[in-house]
Amino acid sequence: MAHGHTVKRYTGIMDWITTVDHKKIGILYLIAGGFFFLIGGLEAILIRIQLWQPMNDFLSADMYNQVLTMHGTTMIFLAAMPILFALMNAIVPLQIGARDVAFPFLNSLGFWTFLFGGLLLNISWFAGGAPNAGWTSYVPLASPVYSDTHGVDFYVIGLQISGIGTLIGGINFLVTIINMRAPGMSFMRMPMFTWSIFVTSALILFAFPALTVGLAALMFDRLFSANFFNPEMGGNAVLWEHIFWIFGHPEVYILILPAFGIISEVIATFSRKRLFGYSSMVFATVLIGFLGFMVWAHHMFTTGLGPVANALFSIATMLIAVPTGIKIFNWIFTMWGGSITFNSANLYAIGFVPTFVMGGVTGVMLAAAPADYQYHDTYFVVAHFHYVIVGGLVLGIFAGLHYWWPKMFGKMLNETLGKITFWTFYIGFHLTFFVQHFLGLMGMPRRIYQYLDGLGFNQMNLISTIGALLMGIGSILFVVNIIVTSRSKEKLGADPWGDGRTLEWTIPSPPPEYNFLQTPLVRGFDALWKEKMDGNKTVTPAEPVGPIHMPSPSILPFFMSVGLFIGGFGFMYHQYIIGGVGLLITFTCMILRSLYDDHGYHIEVEELEKGVKA
């Protein structure tokens, strides 16, 4: 029936705007996330230049607040999460043997809402000042009384719009992983990366609605004079802290769990060994996800919740060290006795393990509520979360990008440059943040734009700034590596590492738009490795070659997001007509989507055979 449909297929820029192909959307996420990563990195460098010597006045106090706020917000919401979404889009459907995600259209919508939310947030720089109340946006600092520019308005509306995209992505990947697995791919045969994305998506689903409510309440306070967080009118500022961290703590596990998944894949592949303790890894991942919802108040020990609450949250937080420790030991045992290849991907992965342990240890220190009264709001905390987020997540992302780059683009990143990048970044990272532990213990508070001479902070701040510059050089080298690689003409086969274990290494690099010519039959964990051990070249297909159904491209997601963008702008400046027009665009696109059935199109067998030869 659908065979008769001719679907317009776009080329060039229109192809990228209308695409519903998860691999292309993954690349879009990577470009956008990488762009925001560089912006956030630039902001970090500005912070470190400001702090390189006592009483520096490179940035004004207010400018420093803006840069600091935007560094945190950009890195978490607009750089780290999108790059993770890039990897999950590019890899998860391939790992489970699927031709696409469950909702290709929504996948595209998720990307465009994220992008327009992020752009809205960054436009604030040119519209009277960026948000300046910290990435946690605590009230009363973020209330209209103490923050009278439009900065925090951009924060609440920009994050609200990009949050929609994240929530859509989370639901999409949950359904994809539950319903779209290839025959034989049971839950306990899923690769570790897929498992970690599964749990991460569940965390997104249950954590982001809390942020939605918090942002909505703050927006009502700021734009419509509501009183949620205004103590004069009976509101309560602690309530915002609670809501923010009920979302915020699961959020940090949303960030780190995919990194755990990536590391598990990379270490197993380059140790040429099965991942040690697979089922305990799965169990630990699920347990971390679950416990992640019961520890939020450890960010608020000094708020004064009382000994009972502090004790409860202290113990719950320390409990998380147990599943995390299981993972660390499993990675070490995976490497033990393996034949390890030290290429750049694996260097990042191996470098991750001790760095993350350090971040974890300081985490347990911070979890001890009485001790936290000393650490709270000092550079010790800054050092801790940069050890887990940069030393954990960013190293994980770099490992994943080096590992899957050949699958995503068909070209291997330059190894020499990759190793230089790794050492520059890794040494720079430890230079920047290791000394900050001691700065914190000596009493240097976080979020200050100047410090006095003679407090003993000078040398360590200088070291930290030098380290930050090294990290900056490392990031630029990675961009150079991408450019160098993109100019090479090499063509890679399906399994360029030679040691691929999972299904993504059974199909060409980069994969054709339909991923699998024939849906594979999965006969065990590490499906490709099992076949290799059984003496087969590749996995057995589960179906004959036949016409493949594909979803049609659509411009609607783009316009829906543009509508939200315009609407957000309108409401921010109390231009309700513009706001209404924006929402109208979005709703019209939704109705159009509902009215016109997407029959998609089929790629016929003859076309498929041509594709295989090429």
Partner: protein, 107 residues
């Protein structure tokens, strides 16, 4: 495409299926109405210990919602394991939020 374990049960069920009548839904409706009337009556009568009333009201609401979700949203039927997990985990998170609101906002 295979692999959708949660839904294979729903497919198999089709063969044995009898068209279900409206009776049990009407029973669920009457049950809901009764609980609602009881809740409103409890409050309208007044002069009962307020802590007891709170607990009674929440229990009756939970009971009513349980019946509606089981019958009207078919959560009692086969193939609904994932919806049950999803809703229950949501309820768990809500529970932590309510504990927060009751004990850790004002002190």
């Amino acid at each position: 495409m295979a692999g959708n374990h949660s839904n294979t049960a729903a497919e198999g069920k089709g063969k044995r299926h009898r068209v279900e009548g409206p009776q049990k839904h009407i029973v669920a409706y009457i049950f809901s109405i009764l609980l609602t009337v009881l809740a409103f009556a409890t409050v309208a009568a007044g002069e009962i210990n307020s802590t007891f009333t709170y607990i009674l009201l929440v229990v009756m609401a939970a009971l009513q919602v349980f019946v509606q979700m089981s019958f009207w949203m078919h959560m009692k039927d086969r193939g609904h394991l994932l919806p049950i997990i999803g809703i229950f985990f949501g309820v768990f998170v809500v529970f932590t939020c309510v504990v927060m609101a009751e004990f850790w906002v004002w002190w």
